[in-house]
């Protein structure tokens, strides 16, 4: 994908398909360590451990396993291309944890991209699902928790397009601050 935020959107959608009602997304940019880490954790129905090997095989179809899609193999390749790797931990009824690491400065490492658009797209499409998003740049963290947000917003729905419009702008702003504070 052109941006890592699109991989994140894709993998989070897997969790939703797996029946998760809470998805944690972590993006950690550790420039001194030259490491970029992406973690997506869901509390969906998980998968039997023996399926893990096949998970990044794009030719495994829904006839032999739960539909995992091409998404995992794409992010796996993206990570490996950047001297990193993908690891998946999963167990039936215990959810799935996907972790992708990349060498931060690798020339082929796609930009993180528009995380605000990814998070709000997830929120819009899944009003019953809770999302916890943390973005850390060189130790400084921004967090968004839809549970807290819903409490704050009161009667206003998070799927209200006007809320989404302003929420997206606010997230972009906060992330922009984070980047500015920790400039190269």
């Amino acid at each position: 994908m052109r941006e890592l935020s699109l991989h994140i959107l894709d993998i989070a959608e897997n969790g939703i398909t797996a029946g998760a009602d809470c998805i944690h997304i972590l993006v950690e940019e550790a420039r001194t360590a030259d490491l970029l880490t992406i973690k997506i954790m869901d509390n969906g129905h998980g998968m039997p451990a023996e399926k893990i090997e096949k998970m990044t095989d794009p030719f495994v179809t829904s006839r032999t396993t739960r539909r995992v899609g091409l998404g995992l193999s794409l992010i796996a390749t993206a990570a490996e291309r950047c001297e990193g790797r993908l690891t998946v931990e999963t167990e039936p009824d215990a959810g799935t944890k996907v972790k992708a690491i990349f060498r931060y400065s690798h020339i082929d490492r796609a930009p993180v991209g528009d995380m605000a658009a990814t998070i709000t797209t997830l929120i819009i499409g899944n009003p019953q699902i809770e999302f916890v998003y943390s973005h850390i740049i060189d130790g400084e963290e921004f967090t968004l928790d839809t549970r807290e947000l819903k409490t704050e917003m009161g009667h206003l729905s998070l799927t209200n397009p006007v809320v989404i419009h302003h929420l997206t702008a606010s997230i972009r702003n906060s992330l922009g601050q984070l980047t500015a504070n920790n400039g190269p």
Binding site: R2, R81, I107, D108, A110, P111
Partner: protein, 116 residues
């Protein structure tokens, strides 16, 4: 042929690096994997890619490319344009696929010493 000749001929939109428009075009290349471009792109080529982040300018400088043509309707971000202006590397836009433009460039003799 200069970069500007291609701009005129194919109606390419110049969005950065106009001080480099008089650069000679020696060849053409297509590719979206930056490490591969770094390894293989010929000096003085026009490089067709869908990538738009600022690393493309770094690669173009490293390999001494004539210009970058961003295809597929993609638009490079602001940092990319700034870097390209600083380095004098033209960035041009093409709304359709790399394949289509590459075919046209090849047919007018870019990277095709037989057909001039």
């Amino acid at each position: 042929m200069t970069v500007n000749d291609l701009v005129q001929r194919f109606g390419l939109r110049v969005i950065a690096g106009d001080k480099g428009l008089d650069r000679q075009v020696e060849d053409g290349y297509c590719g979206d994997l930056l490490s591969e471009i770094m390894g293989n792109a010929p000096e003085g080529c026009v490089w067709l890619t869908i990538q738009g982040h600022q690393n493309i300018v770094a690669v173009a400088v490293l390999r001494d490319l004539a210009a970058i043509i961003v295809t597929g309707g993609q638009k490079p971000d602001d940092e990319t344009r700034q870097k390209a202006n600083q380095e004098g590397i033209p960035i041009l836009l093409w709304p359709d696929s790399s394949y289509q433009l590459a075919g046209s460039l090849y047919s007018i003799g870019i990277g095709n010493s037989g057909a001039k």
